[in-house]
Assembly symmetry: C3
Amino acid sequence: MVPEMEFIISTTKKQELVDITHQVEGSLAKSGVNDGLCNVYVPHATAAIAINENADPEITLDIIDALDKMVKEGGWRHDRIDNNAASHIKAAIVGPSANIPVKEGRLQLGRWQDIFLCEFDGPRERKVIVTVTKQGR
Amino acid sequence: MVPEMEFIISTTKKQELVDITHQVEGSLAKSGVNDGLCNVYVPHATAAIAINENADPEITLDIIDALDKMVKEGGWRHDRIDNNAASHIKAAIVGPSANIPVKEGRLQLGRWQDIFLCEFDGPRERKVIVTVTKQGR
Amino acid sequence: MVPEMEFIISTTKKQELVDITHQVEGSLAKSGVNDGLCNVYVPHATAAIAINENADPEITLDIIDALDKMVKEGGWRHDRIDNNAASHIKAAIVGPSANIPVKEGRLQLGRWQDIFLCEFDGPRERKVIVTVTKQGR
């Protein structure tokens, strides 16, 4: 039996980066894998997974601002249907998953790295799926 | 023996996003893996793999337009050699692969997610490689 | 015992893309895996891993220029603390890892693809972690 390794994050803003490192570590512990690769996946088309600095929370606001400058709101074809084209474009660029090496049961994140759920069209409930594959020998 | 899990997509435009979810599902079925991680990889430097909405096909045109605004055509060093620098830059930013969790033999794509081959310098024949690794216990 | 599969790259510029394909191939050889997935991960929040063309070295300068245009220097909140916000934003967009399929012990890179460490805040010593997971059957 493969353990259930999913959790839900309820975002509270239109756009925000939510640190989910702790929840991913909880899923990893359940996996029973000591050495391998941990994939963190968000099954939503207006959200993404990113890895970046954890120490200064303002960096997450800078990342949102930078993406807002790259992908302006309004004027997209999809806005006629759902009015959230910019959210989809940002999600496609950042991507729905990240992979982190696992060694002796621990995520090999750098000292300044944490894992973030990127909400681009909230507030919503977002599912996160954690999959841990084993290092080969 | 590991089964052959590759397929070819013939793109028809200079730039387009081609939905390859069905072909990836076919490769996954051949892998015999029930629980794990499915990697979709394009071994080309002017193409990429993205995951995004499938319901409104116009979102794929919006994504191409957004990348065109971020990475303007012309004026790059590499254009003197091959005249496709913008295609390379877009491919580097979006990235050549995506990973999707697999559970009970099925891709855990969200309701609004499909897998797309991003052509940035077509029309061309593009190879796609599918690799499925097993969840550890 | 899982073999040590890490190496250090000393970058020499503020920003550069360093080709690390040869080092990754060395780690892959030590892994003993013939068929699977090779993950290349950088545990730093101002560096990234990208895959792109190897033949014309100027493409790496074009990629740096394109990111500089997308993410301008200065004016970010995090600059008040560390003056490297743009480096963090670029790292978050490009991402800290890449995955390459492995077949018969060889990376399935395309003819025009190599693996690059992207330095956005150098010169520094950067660690790269290689993890190889086995294809399931």
